[in-house]
Each structure stands twice: as C-alpha cells, then as structure tokens.
C-alpha cells in the first residue's frame, strides 16, 4: 500500500509510467505543439503572478497599520487616482494579450487546418454509452474500445484521421499524450488527427459527461510499428474463428439475446448496439478498457455487467453456470 502511495505520483509526474495520461508527456505532434504553447503561457502567467503577488505582499507588509506609531490615529494621505498610471496598467496588459493571442492563433490554425497527407489512415469513431466503436473504412475492419494505429515517422508522417460522431449522447475523445480532446456529438461530424511517434499504448478516457457509466468509458490507443500494424490488420480482416470444440457456447450465444446487440462476422449475430465481438479474444481488455480480458472477468461480465460497470446498458443475461462457461469458452475462442 505504502509503495503504491508514494510511487504513483512520482511516476505520473515524470509521465513515463505505463498508466500516464499527463499532458506534459506529449508523444504526438498536436500534443507537442500544445505542450510548447502551454510552456509559453505558463511562463508568462508565472511572471505576472510573481510580479503582482510580490507587489501585493510588499504593500501588505510595508503599509500595515502600526498601533504604536506616533500618528497611528491619523488618516493616511488620500489619493484619488492617476490617469498616467491607469493608462500604463491598461496598455501593458493589452500588449501581453496581443502577444499571447498571436502565439495561440498560430497553433490553432496549424493544428486544425493541418494539410492531410495522401496516405493518412481513416478511422470512424462512434461514441456509445459507454464504449467506443472504431471502423476502418479503407481496411474493412470494425472493432471496439482498443484503437490500433500505425506509428507515424516524423520524416514520413502517416497520421490517423478520426471522423467522429455519437450514437446517443455527447462524448469526448481525450488521449492527453497524443492530442487535445474533441467531442463526439450526435448529428454532427467532427474530425481530429493523431500521429503517435513511438510505439506503445496510450491511455485516456471519455471527457464529456455521457451518463451513468461515464467514468468507465476508457480509451486505449495502440501505436503499432508498421510490421505489427500490418499483422494486426491481417488478423482483424480474417472472418471469425470457427472452432468446433466450442459449438455449445456458439449455440448459447446464438439462442440468447446476445445476437440482437452484438456482431460476430459471418454468423447470424449482426446486432449493432454493442461492441463487435468478431475478434474479441484478440483484445487486452473488456468493458471499455476497465478490466483485463480473462475468462474469469469475461464470465463475470456476461453474468452481470454491473459486476464491473453498474449502469452499463447490457442487461444481466441470467444464464446458468453451464451456459455461462460454454459461452465464455466460445467468446474466448474469437481470436
């Protein structure tokens, strides 16, 4: 306990821990340019704070009422104002504002109106209560909650462009180390781009209150090396595994309400309210990133999603132990 207590803050401040979501550990161009800008803003604000705060402290000490002063009872000289002084503390802040504004405008335009390279990857992101749907129109892949994108070499950038909307309420896509957040709003298309420059896992979570389980709508972005990404694409493009040893589980799956909400490509399951399960077993986590994808966790989730996510829209399936084991085995076969 004590170890966790002291090691986590140090780890998160340095930004190098596996769980880091610090905006001061940028790993992509948009996050980098925001980081640089934020350092400028922080420096200016710190300077203003030290100047004004210092003056205030000085005034409080220098002009405090001293009871044992000879003329303590006398009122101090009354000064009503000064146009020159008013002007100076109007003009100087205006100059600072103009400077800050120009620096900011540059980054706004550079990020939002960034020219799109021809070989950028497109991903459609759809927010749901309380999970993420990812569709790769160029590659014919549909997946959920774990976004895989290629690493982008700064010399030959291959950014990923996210086209975003929502199936229900407002959500917001925020992976602090890669970029600022962009909202996913129903009836509206937003776009943003990310270009992670080193391979790894980048975490984040929904940043716009979207309902009961807003807290457990976690984001996982895997930046894969070109070879890894190609392998992942190939595996996701394959049809669902058909393993005869889990036929009992397949039957449970197909004879229950599972198929009204979930898709397993190539089967009768074509529902779209819940995450696509075609390659469920290839994911590291379930329940939108909130628990590791182990048979025990999956079984507990199917039995009653409220075990991990109270308020999740998936109902408890009321399966008996035999069916639960069978359907868990089936789902774990969907590599």
């Amino acid at each position: 306990m004590h170890q966790v207590w002291f090691s986590l803050p140090a780890q998160s401040l340095s930004g190098n821990g596996s769980g880091s979501t610090s905006i001061f550990a940028p790993a992509g161009s948009p996050a980098h340019s925001i980081f640089d800008l934020s350092m400028l803003v922080l420096a200016i604000c710190t300077a203003i704070f030290l100047t004004v705060g210092g003056l205030l402290l000085y005034v409080l000490v220098r002009y405090r009422h001293r009871a044992n002063d000879a003329n303590a009872a006398q009122e101090p000289p009354q000064i009503y104002g000064s146009t020159q002084i008013e002007l100076s503390w109007t003009v100087i802040p205006i100059l600072i504002v103009v400077m800050l504004f120009l620096a900011t405008a540059r980054i706004i335009f550079a990020t939002q109106d960034h020219p799109r390279p021809a070989d950028a990857l497109d991903v459609t992101v759809i927010g749901h209560q309380f999970w993420w749907e990812y569709r790769y129109p160029q590659l014919g892949i549909v997946t959920a909650n774990e976004l895989h994108v290629p690493v982008s070499d700064p010399h030959h950038p291959t950014p990923t462009y996210l086209t975003m909307s929502s199936a229900d309420t407002d959500h917001s896509f925020w992976v602090p180390r890669l970029a600022g957040k962009t909202d996913l709003i129903p009836n509206r298309i937003n776009t943003m781009w990310i270009d992670p420059q080193s391979a790894g896992l980048y975490l984040g979570q929904c940043a716009q209150y979207c309902g009961t389980q807003h807290a457990k709508m976690l984001l996982r972005v895997y930046a894969d090396s070109p070879a890894d990404f190609a392998a992942w694409v190939a595996s996701q493009q394959r049809p669902a595994v058909e393993d005869p040893s889990v036929a009992a589980g397949l039957a449970v799956f197909q004879h229950n309400a599972c198929i009204s909400c979930h898709t397993v490509a190539g089967t009768v399951a074509t529902g779209r309210f819940g995450p696509d399960l075609t390659h469920l077993a290839s994911r590291d986590t379930i329940a939108s990133g909130s628990v590791p994808n182990t048979p025990a966790n999956l079984r507990a989730f199917v039995q009653d999603p409220a075990n991990f996510k109270p308020g999740a829209l998936m109902p408890p399936m009321h399966l008996n132990d035999h069916d639960l084991d069978a359907v868990t085995a089936y789902l774990m076969s969907l590599k």
Binding site: S38, L56, V59, L60, Y63, Y80, S82, F109, Y209
Partner: protein, 563 residues
C-alpha cells in the same frame, strides 16, 4: 403590517416593556408578508446559507467517494446526482440569492433610499426563487411520481442535450431541474429589474451616478447582465420542456435536433453568469478594501469603466466553453481573443485595489483578511483563466479537473472569500452586534488552509488527464494521492465553515453591541442605526461626494474638494 404595534429600534426603549410579547405566528406572519428590503435581503441570505450547507455536504460526499480509486462509497447514479445537485444548488440557490440578499439589503441604504423601487415585486421575486429551490429538492422525493421512489436530476448542472431527452432521462427528475431553473430565473429577472430601477430612480439628492458607491455600480452592471443572460436560459428551459412533452425537436438529436444549439443557449447564459456572481464580489471589495486601508478607492472612474467593460466583453466569450465541440479555426481564434481581452479590465481592477492599499494603513480585521485572500486567489484564478482561454491549451484542459480547480478558485477563492469578508463587515449593520474577531481569524486561517489544500492540488490531476464528473478512477493513473489530499482539504473547509456558523449564532445573541458605525466607514448605510429602522433614514440624506461620511468626519478637508 405597518399598523401592528411592532417594537423596533425607532421606538423608545421603554416601549418594549409595554408592548405584548408577540407569539411566533405573528413573527412568522411578519416575515412572510414583509415587503421591507432589509427583511427580504435577510431571507435571501438565510435561505442561501441553508442551501450552502446542503450543497457543501453534497461536495463532501463526492470527495469521500473520490478519495480512493474504484471506491464504492456511493453508486455512480448517486454520484451523478450529487454533482448535478451541487452545481445547480451552488449557482442558482446559493450564489445568486446570497448576492441578491446583500444587494437588497445594502443598495437602498447606500443610496439613501427608503426601500427598493418595487417592494412587492421584491417579495414576489424572493418567494418564487425560494419555491424553485424547494422544487429542485422535492425531486429527491417525488421525481418518479408520488407513488414511486424519488430520483434527483443527474444530467449535470449544464444538462447537455441530448442527455436531457426523454430517451436518456426518463422519469421527472429532469423536469424538476428545468422547472426549478425556470422559477429561479423569473425571480432573478424580477430582482434585477428592481435593482436597475432602484439605482436609476431612487438615489438621494446629490448622489449623481458618478458619486454612487462602487458596490451599487457593480450591482447595476450585474443586473443588466442578468437581463441578457437569464432570458436565453429561460427560453432554453421552455424549449427543453417542449421537447420533452410536446414533441418539438430543438435539442432532440434522434429527430434531427441540435445538441450544439443547447450548448450555445446554455453558455451565453453560463459565462456571463460567472460575472453575475463575481461582480457583486468586486463590489464588496470596492467598499471593504478602502475602509480597512483608510484610503479612498484609487481610480474610481477607471473602476466603473472596467466594470462596464467586463459586462460588455463577457457577452462575447461564451464559446470558450465549447473549444472542443468542433468549431472552425476562425471561431476558436475569435473566442480566444475575446476571452483574453476580458483579462485587461479585470487586471485594471486588481491594480486599482493594489494602488488603494498602497500608502494606506492596513487594518487586518477578519473582514480585511478575507478580502486580501480574495485578491491573491482572484489573481491566480485570472491567470488560470488566461491559460484556459488559449484554445489549444483548453483542448487538453477543458473538461478536466484543471477546469474544476479553476472555477472553484473563482467561486470559492474569490466569491466565497469576499462573501465571508462581507459578512464580517456588514453583520454588525444587519444584527446590531459584532461578529467575534477571534473566531473570525480562526475561521479565516482554517478556511484558507483547507481551500489551498483542496483547490491548489486539484489542478494537478487535471494536468495528468483526470476528467471531471467521473464517479471513480483507475488505480494506475497516479491520481490517488492528489485526490486523497484534496478530500482532506474539503474536511478542513467544512470545519472552518461550521466555525463561521457558530460565530454567527453566538454573536447574534452575545456579541458586543456594534453601534451605528463600528468601522469608521464612509458610505451612507453607516449613518443610520444598526440594525436600521424600517424607514432607513429619519430624514433623506443629501450627499456632496462619493464618501458622505468622510465629508462629515473631515469638514475641513472633504472629498467634494477633489472630485
């Protein structure tokens, strides 16, 4: 009412022995039917303090839940209700009523008037606002129908569409929220009308606009802002009700409505609302800082210009709450500039307060200590505000705990500190008795420590990626230590607030008698008894400068020579 034989200060002391002791029904009847601006002001303050304690308790429950990751102290449903009720209560049923309470009490006294311009409207506004607050909390009992269990609203205080649509918010909790805001809005507009009419029409002879106390100026600007901001909010609430019950589709995205439209409606209210709350706090500072520095306010015309400037600019900054909704780069640039521009008049105010302190003789009373706390904290809140105005920085910080820390710095660090300062300053006028200075200083230091532990540290998890409005968080993010410390700070603030409540009750009965002018102050309210008689002034005062009592006390060197 006037015909009742009510004992008050205006009568000779002996009459209390002859007048029969009133039974509680008569006292109650007196308060419920009153149209006296002072009594209405006190009722505003009283009901806001009750809601302050309730909403503070809600905050405390949230902090217990967040002190550890994956905590199960409250369920996500309850947590979402807590932050919705906390935010709604604090803004609509604490912040505005308590400021209107002070305004109601002080404005007629400061401008030498007998009462507000429309005393009956005043009473109506109070009661309709109070009814709104009760309606909001009735949702805990009756939001699912009288026979069902209650459920408080859980859509957040800004209630973004389409979460408020019936598809996502069945039951009536959202309706109670809508109705509560609607009623509070009617009351707010009524009082704002009253304040504007009072300041324009009821000033005593000699009190030209440029001699009006700055507090009254700020209430005037604030009331004008109320017209422009509460109206769209009220319109949006009506549209939302139409959506929910009459089949319109303004915000119903499933039928082609626009979620962004609601955001515009809400924030054209929501951002000027911050200034509606903070301008009166500036007003308190403009009265209290000069008195305890023993100097006239520095740059009165600049202070008025800055206040009016803030009022206007604040109407063009609302979409900085929407930097992440996918506006064009041009729109983001505009709202960055507008938001940064507001720091110029705000800076002017801080510099003028500084110049008022400069060369003075600063008396560190409890009231002044809270005012100085306000100055420091408002400076920091302004600077984090500049950071958030930088749209790209906001793409990271918006919707995170950094924002929560920033606006609590404004609402608690600036406004609540200035409110405490105002309580220590005007409580003697309102009750006739001084608050205990010793308890006041304990209150100040405890609250200061609790405040900084909570809200300084709260910036950090925001920088580390912690979004707001989550009922729990992952253990591997490194947010635990900060959250634990933040929660401890909340406990310290609670203790300090209880001390303040105790101080008010104790001092009301046992505090030293204040006399008409305990602070040797300069504005008209100190020229009458404490508490003032029902008619305020035995004869209508006439003023010749901004500080009429200074002129009286220094007949050889009056302000009127210099203005």
């Amino acid at each position: 009412m006037a015909t009742q034989a009510t004992p008050n200060l205006s009568q000779p002391a002996g009459s209390e022995h002859t007048a029969p002791r009133r039974i509680w029904v008569e006292v109650l009847h007196d308060w419920v039917t009153t149209v006296d601006h002072k009594k209405i002001g006190l009722m505003y303050i009283g009901y806001a303090l009750v809601f302050l304690v309730i909403a503070g308790f809600e905050a405390l429950l949230m902090r217990v839940q967040l002190s550890l990751p994956n905590n199960h102290f409250v369920s996500p449903q309850v947590f979402n209700q807590l932050f919705t009720m906390h935010g709604t209560t604090m803004v609509f049923f604490v912040g505005m009523p308590i400021l209107f309470g002070f305004g109601n009490y002080l404005i007629p006294l400061m401008i030498g008037a007998r009462d507000m311009a429309f005393p009956r409207l005043n009473a109506f506004s109070f009661w309709i606002s109070a009814f709104g607050g009760l309606l909001l909390y009735f949702s805990y009992l009756g939001a699912s129908g009288l026979s069902g269990a209650g459920s408080a609203p859980d859509v957040g205080w800004w209630a973004y569409a389409p979460l408020t649509a019936r598809a996502f918010s069945p039951g009536h909790s959202t309706d109670y929220w809508t109705l509560a805001i609607l009623l509070s809005g009617i009351g707010t507009i009524g009082t704002a009308v009253n304040i504007v009419a009072t300041t324009i029409c009821m000033r005593c002879p000699g009190m030209k606009l440029n001699r009006m106390p700055l507090l009254v100026w700020l209430y005037l600007v604030m009331s004008c802002l109320v017209f422009v901001t509460i109206s769209p909010l009220t319109a949006a609430q009506i549209m939302l009700m139409l959506d929910r019950y009459l089949g319109s589709h303004f915000f119903d995205t499933q039928a082609g409505g626009s979620a962004v439209l609601w955001m515009h409606f809400f924030w054209i209210f929501g951002h000027p609302e911050v200034y509606v709350l903070v301008l009166p706090a500036f007003g308190f500072a403009n009265e209290i800082i000069p008195v305890f520095s023993r100097k006239a306010i520095f740059g009165y015309p600049a202070m008025v210009a800055a206040s009016v400037g803030i009022g206007f600019i604040s109407l063009s900054v609302w979409a900085h709450h929407m930097f992440t909704v996918g506006m064009t780069s041009g729109a983001n640039t505009f709202f960055t500039l507008a938001t940064m521009a507001i720091s110029v008049p705000t800076g002017i105010k801080i510099f003028n307060w500084l110049a008022t302190l400069w060369g003075g003789k600063i008396h560190f009373t409890a009231s002044m200590m809270f005012a100085i706390g306000f100055l420091f904290q408002f400076l920091i809140a302004g600077l984090t505000g500049i950071m958030l105005s930088v749209a790209p920085f906001d793409w990271q910080l918006g919707g995170s705990y950094f924002v929560v820390a920033h606006f609590h710095y404004v609402l608690v660090g600036a406004i609540l500190f200035m409110l405490f300062s105002a309580f220590y300053y005007w409580f003697p006028k309102m009750s006739g008795r001084m608050l205990s200075e010793k308890l006041g200083k304990w209150h100040f230091w405890l609250f200061l420590i609790g405040f900084h532990v909570t809200f300084d540290l709260m910036h950090i998890p925001g920088l580390e990626g912690m979004p707001r409005r989550i009922y729990t968080y992952e253990a591997d993010r490194g947010w635990m230590m900060w959250n634990m410390a933040i929660s401890c700070g909340a406990v310290i603030q609670t203790v300090a607030t209880l001390l303040f409540v105790y101080n008010m009750i104790w001092s009301y009965f046992k505090g030293p008698v204040a006399g008409p002018d305990p602070w040797d102050a300069w504005t008209l309210e100190w020229s009458t008894t404490s508490p003032p008689p029902q008619y305020n002034f035995a004869e209508t005062p006439t003023v010749e400068s901004r500080r009429p009592l200074w002129d009286l006390k220094h007949p050889l060197d009056p302000d009127s020579h210099y203005e």
